[in-house]
Symmetry: C2
Subunit: 213 residues, 2 copies
């Protein structure tokens, strides 16, 4: 059975997966790039922008797992665009015409729209339904490979609540955001279902991995 | 100048420093002992109960710093006793007649009471005032040594908000409590005032140290 995986999901010390006030200019709100600076400094992160170089240490080792063996992504509506993107017929995601997914991507939204076929193998499908229902669609599209739940925090939390996540990689960044959307809200006792490891990085982040028992 | 230090302050993955529903039977509410099991497994933790043995690894190295060079403790009313202890004239703290402080201890409360002189050098003083005002009292009593802010989370948060903390040792335990009292609430940007280190322990906890820049 293909697995459901979450990778490179960054949170602040106080558990926020995005900041407050997400806009077109600030996709992560007042958090800015601070939650993801660790990734942009890796070879994997730089390659997303067509840049050479970048670190190949523990941050890279975790970061590049994001794409290995993945056949489809599921994301929340809030990851696909800024508030109100559903009313903008020209919106095609943050990532340009060749998004870095290269697989089918299922955007969870009640907004009905035709699939968007992008370059490089990415197709955005707009689907409504429970986490389980959307996962069934994504699994069919993944061709036996794993399904990544790509965020944001509300979406990851929904899949954890429904006990659908096999592997969860959380990256704790040493900042106190104070406001935004929390990952762990309502997830009391989640640790009982997982074996948990923590490892620090010279970059200052802590990688936490949760593997289903 | 003597320093203000916080040690062995355990929080859950979701940032709770105590659980929900604190009572005489459950000083940490539904968290039980789970936030402090790491410490009770160390030589330091076992010695608090007069027991031999215990680990001497990284958890012990951090845990025993709690008492080194400390001349006074400040604690919140919620650490001294269960809700309503102010109305119980026989209440003398959780710790018996020889509490493990061995210094003056300043309990922040609007409840007026005479100092309680215990065995082993501990005297409980009951004082009202701002963090700064109570710190001034504790510093006078500490005889040039450092002052420990002993918790709970609301008290530690108050001293962080007032920018009075020089060293903060937080121990993140891999459990999701879901409810209780959060440490980081309202502390946006706190990281800017500190150099932060993280180190993992074989016990599964992550030690985070914040040293004032």
């Amino acid at each position: 059975m293909s697995k459901v995986r979450v990778h490179n999901f960054s949170i602040s010390l106080d558990g926020f997966g995005t900041g407050d006030g997400m806009t077109l200019e600030d996709p992560f709100g007042h958090a800015g790039r601070r939650l993801h600076d660790w990734m942009f400094a890796t070879q994997f992160g730089r390659s997303l922008f067509g840049q050479d170089g970048g670190g190949v240490g523990v941050d890279q080792a975790f970061a590049e797992r994001n794409v290995l063996g993945i056949g489809a992504e599921i994301m929340g509506a809030g990851k696909f665009g800024p508030p109100g993107w559903q009313e903008d017929a020209t919106w095609r995601g943050w990532w340009g015409e060749d998004p870095p997914f290269h697989t089918p991507v299922f955007v969870m939204t009640r907004h009905e729209a035709e699939p968007m076929v992008m370059e490089g193998g990415t197709t955005f499908h707009f689907v409504a339904g429970s986490p389980k229902e959307v996962l069934d669609l994504a699994r069919q599209a993944a061709g036996g490979l794993d399904v990544r739940v790509g965020g944001g925090p509300t979406t990851v939390r929904g899949f954890l609540e429904a006990d659908l996540v096999d592997e969860l990689h959380v990256v704790q960044v040493p900042i106190v955001l104070g406001r935004g959307t929390r990952l762990w809200e309502g997830l009391e006792g989640t640790e009982e279902r997982f074996a948990i490891e923590a490892v620090t990085s010279p970059s200052g982040v802590v990688h936490l991995t949760f593997t289903r028992r």
